[in-house]
Amino acid sequence: MAIGHDAVLSEDDETTPLEYRHENDVLRIYGFWLFIATDLVLFGTLFATYVVLRANTAGGPSESQLFEVPIFTAETLILLTSSFTCGLATFQMHRKKHGWLSFWLVVTVLLGATFIGLELSEFITYATHGATMQRSAFLSAFFTLVGTHGIHVSMGILWMLSILYQLWRTGLNSTTARKVFVVGLYWHFLDVVWVFIFTVVYLTGVAH
């Protein structure tokens, strides 16, 4: 595959999605899958650290004393819903409904911001009760794992806002279509990571 020029693979083919019509866009989407695979390994190391250190509370608060079921359930349901609305954005993009595409991206951004707000208030509540990152190995591992995910979501919100701006400026074309598709991959991936945080960190923490 030649990278230097941007070969048109199927400009007039209505059955090919907009984001797959140019060779460069196909390569960039593949490149983003590679990023997801490596980001997965990053989270793998943080999960391994957490699972190994979760019992080392150094006399400080433990999982079951900190985690509140309504809070982490709300966070989970909000992020799952945002993954759905992000999927709807891609769905409307494939139907070339520019207005609906932007609408669902805005809904996704709002849900993502609500999630981050809840997570921040959760972290602040912990910290005001003395459960800070430096309190124990368990809390270091907890804040590193969950915080890294939170930073990913925050970056995703900024990224989505910039794509919304670009959609508004240049409309829907193969470049903006590829960007919407890729930010969607990123968002769904973060949802998967959160499902494992929900299961491994929170559910396991309150299961005893």
């Binding site: 693979l9 199927s10 059955t15 090919t16 999605p17 797959y20 196909v26 989407i29 593949y30 899958w33 590679l34 997801i36 695979a37 490596t38 997965l40 390994v41 989270f43 793998g44 190391t45 999960f47 391994a48 650290t49 699972v51 190994v52 019992a55 080392n56 079921v69 359930t73 989970t76 349901l77 799952l80 819903t81 993954s83 759905f84 992000c86 999927g87 709807l88 891609t90 769905f91 494939h94 139907r95 190995a137 598709f181 969607g184 991959l185 769904h188 991936f189 949802d191 998967v192 499902v195 494992f196 929900f198 299961t199 491994v200 559910l203 396991t204 309150v206 299961a207 005893h208």
Partner: protein, 102 residues
């Protein structure tokens, strides 16, 4: 490549959404109600989480959409293998009396 482009209603997405919410609430209920022992509970909820990967990949992430060979599936499978090895390997090695060492 079938992207449901001509369908007016996003059936795949609604199915995925209902499945993800159902799997989450079921896992939460099982833990809250202590329907089985701790180890069995963790195993079943992890299985539900693994099913949620499949929901996202196939119903939301269009993993089957690709012109030409699906090299990204190979990359993703390798990433999953590394992740599993790191997590399972760490748990395994640290159960050998490691708790006293740090």
């Amino acid at each position: 490549m079938n992207t449901n482009a001509n369908r007016a209603f996003p059936w795949k997405h609604v199915t995925g959404f209902v499945l993800s919410i159902a799997l989450t609430l079921l896992a939460l209920w099982m833990v809250q109600a202590h329907v089985m022992g701790f180890t069995a509970l963790i195993s079943v909820t992890l299985l539900f989480a693994a099913l949620q990967i499949l929901v996202q990949l196939f119903l939301f992430m269009h993993i089957t959409d690709s012109p030409g060979p699906r090299y990204h599936v190979i990359a993703l499978a390798l990433g999953l293998l590394f992740t599993f090895t790191i997590v399972a390997g760490s748990i395994w090695i640290m159960t050998f009396g490691g708790n006293q060492a740090y």
